[in-house]
């Protein structure tokens, strides 16, 4: 079951093609990461899916409902925590939640009751009667997300939920996201931070200048770029020069000599695991004893830089 499906989604602002033919397939019940630098088109994509903007071309469906043809059906299933605070700064935390509850059809009394529960769960009870403009960034974010799950949505959009937060508040938001997904809600999360996508998302789309330039699970993304590495520790430091020669030949790559006199690191190409196996077999055949080895996956940062570079070169 797909929570979101888009085909050839386009949004143009004047001369800027903010979203330029985006295809997405977001499975229900997962966190899907939309990763991209400033101006990539993340917010625009989210606003199209949340029925705040009308697409210029292409189709977008949320749980099978077309965003253009049936926006009210989509609105009944989704909620949005925008990049900029989507709470009313002049009102208090409690008032914000009651306002929202009543707009969702609760009576004043049940809106207040659920509001109190949410404030408690989000650790905002002590601040509930203060105006939101006096909240810290982390508290504001939490209230914002609390408002978004007032009616537990099927699909939650979080647009850069941790930008500008300190590490502690960021961790709190991550815990909240995990709890929300555990409860069965699908989350579409945009972020500029690779470690955030790495921590939370099960699938990631990397987006740059309005286009999806890579998509897949974290593992697939890293593998597709093929910049893994193998790290080898020898028993005998005396054999390192020999090992270096051999690996250079087998892997056809530069070998780094680590500061540790028994260790070497080699970069791997497209078929990282086969290459690594071959390298280890050759070392054994040459009588070089390997104490231990590890395969390093490229970090998402490397993936991201590699992908955006490719894009630039093309």
């Amino acid at each position: 079951m797909l929570a979101i499906e888009t085909k050839g989604l386009v949004k143009v602002f004047g001369k800027t093609r903010a979203v330029d033919g985006v295809d997405l397939a977001v499975p229900a019940g997962t966190v899907y990461g939309l990763l991209g630098p400033n101006g990539a088109g993340k917010t625009t994509t989210v606003r199209l899916l949340a029925t705040l903007l009308k697409p210029d071309d292409g189709v977008a469906e949320v749980f099978g409902h077309d965003v253009r043809a049936d926006p009210d059906a989509v609105r009944a299933l989704v909620s949005l925590t925008g990049q900029y605070a989507s709470v009313d700064e002049d009102l208090t935390g409690t008032e914000n939640l009651i306002l929202l509850g009543r707009l969702l059809g609760h009576t004043g009394k049940s809106a207040r009751a659920r509001g109190e529960q949410l404030l408690e769960a989000f650790g905002l009870t002590d601040a509930k009667d203060r105006q939101v403009k006096n909240y810290s960034g982390g508290m504001r974010r939490r209230l914002d997300i609390a408002a978004s799950i007032f009616a537990t949505p099927q699909l939650l959009f979080l647009d850069e939920p941790t930008t500008g937060l300190d590490p502690r508040s960021r961790n709190q938001v991550w815990d909240i996201v995990r709890a929300v997904v555990d409860a069965g809600t699908t989350v579409l999360l945009t972020t500029q931070y690779l470690d955030e996508a790495d921590q939370l998302a099960s699938r990631i789309a990397v987006i740059d200048r309005g286009k999806v330039i890579a998509e897949g699970t974290k593992g697939e993304l890293k593998a597709s770029v093929g910049v893994g590495s193998i790290h080898v520790r020898l028993r005998d430091a005396g054999q390192r020069a020999e090992a270096q020669q051999l690996l250079t030949r087998v892997l056809d790559a530069d070998i780094q000599l680590d500061s540790d006199p028994v260790a070497l690191t080699a970069c791997l190409g497209g078929h990282a695991t086969e290459q690594a196996a071959e390298a280890l077999a050759q070392l054994a055949r040459a009588g070089i004893t390997v104490d231990n080895f590890s395969l390093g996956q490229p970090s998402l940062d490397e993936v991201f830089l590699a992908l955006t570079d490719k894009e630039q070169a093309a």
Binding site: R47, A50, T51, L52, D72, R75, A76, S79, L80, G82, Q83, Y84, A85, S86, V87, D88, E89, D90, L91, E95, L99, L100, R102, L103, L104, G105, H106, T107, S110, R114, Q117, L118, E120, A121, F122, G123, L124, D126, A127, Q131, N134, Y135, S136, G138, M139, R142, A147, S148, I149, A151, T152, Q172, D175, I176, R178, A179, V180, D182, A183, T185
Partner: protein, 278 residues
Amino acid sequence: MTATIEQLEAPKPEALAAVLVAKTRPPRPSALSASITFGWRAVLKIKHVPEQLFDVTAFPIMMILMFTYLFGGALASSPTEYLQFLLPGIMVTSVVMITMYTGVAVNTDIEKGVFDRFRTLPIWRPAPMVGYILGDLLRYVLASTTIMLVGLVLGYRPAGGFTGVVLAVGVLMAFSFAFSWVWTMFGLLMRSEKSVMGVSMLVLMPLTFLSNVYVNPATMPGWLQAFVNVNPITQLVSAVRGFMSGSADAGALSWTLGYTIAFTVVFGALTMRLYNRK
């Protein structure tokens, strides 16, 4: 203090899980209930920033004092006598002038993220706009009351009595509700608060001055009378004056109701077009 709260309080994932279990939604609210909720939001904003009521009290008082004593001696035998003619008109002018704040409020609010949330809710689309105007009606009532009280102190005596005054204010509220849609439209159309104010002045100055608020149109040249007579403010002032003086003006009243409906339909529709496009 903020720091200590931050340190003490953290989200509680277990409690959160319990809250998230509730998956049933109540039925969506009616158009009326959603609009009233937005009206309540406007009232809360007044509660948190009461200074904004300065505009709706000080401005009318200034208007009534200024014009009563400025023109009173010249246009009638005494300020008190002129006040009998002026008060309904100055009440209309003051209230119609402050309707423009609706546009300013829409303009400053609409770019904020909270509107994104409202627009993703499955509610009656015009509700946020109607809510503004409902909240503003409260200010109009306050302004009218202020003027009436100051007028009574200065010697105004409405022949229509209490009922006449209430009916007059009722007509004024209905018209102001309709007229506010002009400003919600400009609030959505204009880029900045300043330009909304600019346009408002451009519209309001001729409408309020080229009317029967200050003088009887009979003394004006024919071409001006032609404009003054179709000016919605003239018709509104005649209707309000009629009720307050105890002799209802049926003609002016029907004109006013016609304008009320026309403004609501035309500018309400234009506002919603712009709102949906944003």
